[in-house]
Point group: C2
Chain length 636, copies 2
Amino acid sequence: MVSMLRVCLVLYLTLVVGIFADNATPPPIKKVTAKPTEAPKTTTTSPSPSPTTTPVASNGNETIGNASLSNTTQVNTTVTSTTLATTSTTKAMVAPLPAKGAAEEEHHSSMTIFFVLSVIALCVLIIHVLLKFNFTYLPESIAIVIVGTILGGILKLFSSYGIGNWQSEEAFDPTMFFLILLPPIIFESGYNLHKGNFFQNFGSILVFAVIGTFISAMIIGGGVYLLGLAQVAYKLSLVESFAFGSLISAVDPVATLAIFHALDVDPVLYMLVFGESVLNDAVSIVLTTTVLELASPSASAMSGAEAFFSTVWRFCSMFVASAVIGTAFGLVSAMLLKFVDLRKTPSLEFGLMLVFSYLPYGLAEGLKLSGIMAILFAGIVMSHYTHLNLSPVTQITTQQTFRTVAFMAETCVFAYLGLAISSYSHIVKPSFVIWSIVLCLVGRACNIFPLSFVMNYFREHKITRKNQFIMWFSGLRGAIAFALSLHLEFTSEVRHVLLTTTLIIVLFTLMVLGGATLPLLKLLKAEKRKKTKPGRELNLSKTKEMGDTIDTDHLSELTDMEDEVNYVKPHLKGFMKIDAKYLVPFLTRRLTKEELRDGTNQMKTLTNQWYQEVRAVPSEDEEDEEMQNLTAQEIR
Amino acid sequence: MVSMLRVCLVLYLTLVVGIFADNATPPPIKKVTAKPTEAPKTTTTSPSPSPTTTPVASNGNETIGNASLSNTTQVNTTVTSTTLATTSTTKAMVAPLPAKGAAEEEHHSSMTIFFVLSVIALCVLIIHVLLKFNFTYLPESIAIVIVGTILGGILKLFSSYGIGNWQSEEAFDPTMFFLILLPPIIFESGYNLHKGNFFQNFGSILVFAVIGTFISAMIIGGGVYLLGLAQVAYKLSLVESFAFGSLISAVDPVATLAIFHALDVDPVLYMLVFGESVLNDAVSIVLTTTVLELASPSASAMSGAEAFFSTVWRFCSMFVASAVIGTAFGLVSAMLLKFVDLRKTPSLEFGLMLVFSYLPYGLAEGLKLSGIMAILFAGIVMSHYTHLNLSPVTQITTQQTFRTVAFMAETCVFAYLGLAISSYSHIVKPSFVIWSIVLCLVGRACNIFPLSFVMNYFREHKITRKNQFIMWFSGLRGAIAFALSLHLEFTSEVRHVLLTTTLIIVLFTLMVLGGATLPLLKLLKAEKRKKTKPGRELNLSKTKEMGDTIDTDHLSELTDMEDEVNYVKPHLKGFMKIDAKYLVPFLTRRLTKEELRDGTNQMKTLTNQWYQEVRAVPSEDEEDEEMQNLTAQEIR
């Protein structure tokens, strides 16, 4: 028996011998006693001037013999234990063992997740109540921010009485925001985007997003700097001013979507605001990073013109590369699901969809491009091509899951904005805050009105005065700006001032401008748009909209199209024509009759299954009996 | 204009004044220049003997003025920045700003996610190929481990030639495993569990899981210790031996499920092995932590008997409390979805399901109980009650999503096991490894055979000799043991030895025992079970099983029941009776006829939508036309 085992073992070891062999010799061992109190001392004695500039560089150290150094608790497992690594570098390229205290950390993270999920559950119920009592004048996003604020206050109260300590649970973590919360929101908006409108207005959107945001950043950054010099407001350095101007210039897609989505606004207006808000994020990120780089000593040798062109070049390459990555992943997913028939294994099919919905974001962010742009384009391409290659079950699952996850992520974002009021320490500079808000409004005015004026020369569908006004008014700032402000690397006081100011501007635009959007629209509508359908009321709830349109989503898209520029029916032009003639046939699958029948039957079986399981009202009358028979017949 | 804004601002500030007020005064600012190279020095000078035993304690420090300390890159944002906090504690209860370098860390994490998702996509395709060519003799789990091994080797090769550095991407992170990968796997298995069989065999499962695991741990721990003393194998201290014995004794649910799920084994056998593997995880965790605690100086005053009773007491309370938490959350979700009608807003409905599927895990782990037990019970309760309160769309979405996420998590786990071979540095002690494997087999034999013998006195459905043999044989160790071994806090050499040994045992049981399970079953079956249905072949693919049974899952459960002890039809007994008579009516909703019709119509509309969108083969013959008309009629 033992010999057989040995043989097996040797065989397996041979398989991986190349990997094992060079590690099999025990490295020099330094016995470090693992008592936690000794850890800091050990840190002090360690000679490590470990290179800290690039994160990859410090990974080369082997941590055999010094794992106990990382004993200072709350150190996140894999990653951090290398940072304090001493000089016993026997081999590179090997991952360190997790730091001690990792198990403890785990319990803490569990509690954080529990907290977040509880907040989401609470918000779900509150939204349900809002919907049920038709309390449509309070947008969901604002309701959730208020919930977050109140919750933050309560936790603060608890903490001050010593009941629990929640400050790490309630803190808004920008990494979590960018990696977990933002991608599903943007992907979902791309997936359910009205593609026709988006691409028809692509030129205008681009102009607003790029030139407009640049104008706004210049005005806010310059304004803040000059006001600081003039001693009117808090004094910031040139770099700090423009970094702040850049990050606060981007209109936020999350906030804007939440307010606009369900409004019965002019679809072109919606598309302009939405498109701008998605694309200008990239602009804002590039501007902010560029400003910060210009401040670094290595870049100060550059002349102004050089800096300008480098910024422009960076933006263009970032924009194009991100879009290409997103589009490429979308196309690959369509091809894969066309030729690899996964419809018999829905788990694999849906799994592939989930993977492909995040892949472009991961790659683009990893390459320091704009993940948000990549995922937007991936969403658009996937809904246009890949969606058609899915089995009906996976179609439903995909759509529902993306929607739900996006909804949950949005809820999180707004709740965290509310919580941020009490979870960070703030330095309020009233004059700075007020002037910043004024500059934001002025900057946005200088973006929208002149550019609209110019673009109306080229547009068929002019941007009316009223729409311009709404566009100006709806310049909501949101979580992206706030997350960027958390990432600024200035001195502590400046960080806190900018953080606080950004948070106040975000909340102000969300509460005041966002809250006033519905009344404003009503006012404008009363004068102008009479042709709104009588049955459809204004409705600020995106969630309800989701429920209502669950079964008519793609259909409604068609009817919307007919309302407008009807490019579908008589003559397709440009890209649309190529798309319908070549791309769609190339990228989507042609189903045989059998496959169609399979799909339909599968759905029927599922329906029947539900029907059978569910507890119905006892069948007193015949009608019910009859219906049951009917369903049973249909299935056979 | 400005005055209006000021008014709004003041109003809002008043709202949150209690929170802002005490933070408005700027804290004493210590200007620390943010040059990265200075960071280690600063760490050295910091006097912080920050208490490292409890992670919460060190959170009270405010990091204003010292955020640059955490500048050592790769530090995970929110959590870690407190650990290096200096003594400038001006205010407690406030979250620190993210450490600098957080934005950099984000790009790195993105790349990690991209890497993981790419691996999953690759595995999906490989599994598809395996299924397509009906290559059923290689279990999917083993295939994926091999993929992981090969991938690890390739990355190693790349790294050694200096092409990229992947060691943090490919490292198995136990925190990620316990927080993200394990919960969906266990929840899904609970959700799709054959509840009748599970509860009928609950007594036996409990005995195997608790007493059996305890026996096994004692034998392995004692054996390893004695062999060490006798200089036969690597020498471990008493604590280290028993810690190792405890963590390696737990049979792994993930590995076992992956191998067993689709096998057409005796359902009772399946349930015994599965049930044991889920519950003994809790036992193993409690044993391991208890052993480690006994080693700490504070506990050494306890006598042997005290320690024993404290262990027993801890286990019982942990077991009961975890199960109660899981059950409670399940029941709450059922009640919520019964009384709160979310069927018009599927996003909210599905969101609530997602939240409730994770909440019990978060709470149980946060309270240092067994999250895995809590989530198992929540899954069981939710599939039994909550599932019936869902709209058909959400039912489908829920089931598909849970399955897919569980599948993806499993894929990750196995891929990481393969990658772990090359991502950690190993110290192989051949004699220790071989003796450990022998002791594992002996320990499991001492668990299964005597306990089965005893229990057969009490069981109606006896455990046959053959089933006992299969149970012994199928004691696969898996990722839980490996993750626990990563969390051990011994000296570095011992850690590496135990890590390596655990990994080899895991791979050995998975590859050799797991791989031999199918031939073994065939051998045994050829002799004995003739009554297997002719149409159904042995199939090691869980994924294919998923696809096949997608529409008959809950129905098949009923038919299975009839096969066996048929407690459903003639007379329900015990809990089953109470359940059917009181609990189900209490916890599930009675649908009105209208609601039934709505549900059916919703599904029809969705089917139709798919039918309309999809590109069908051009309708040449009439049959197709006919079918289209038929479908159209049905929908009207």
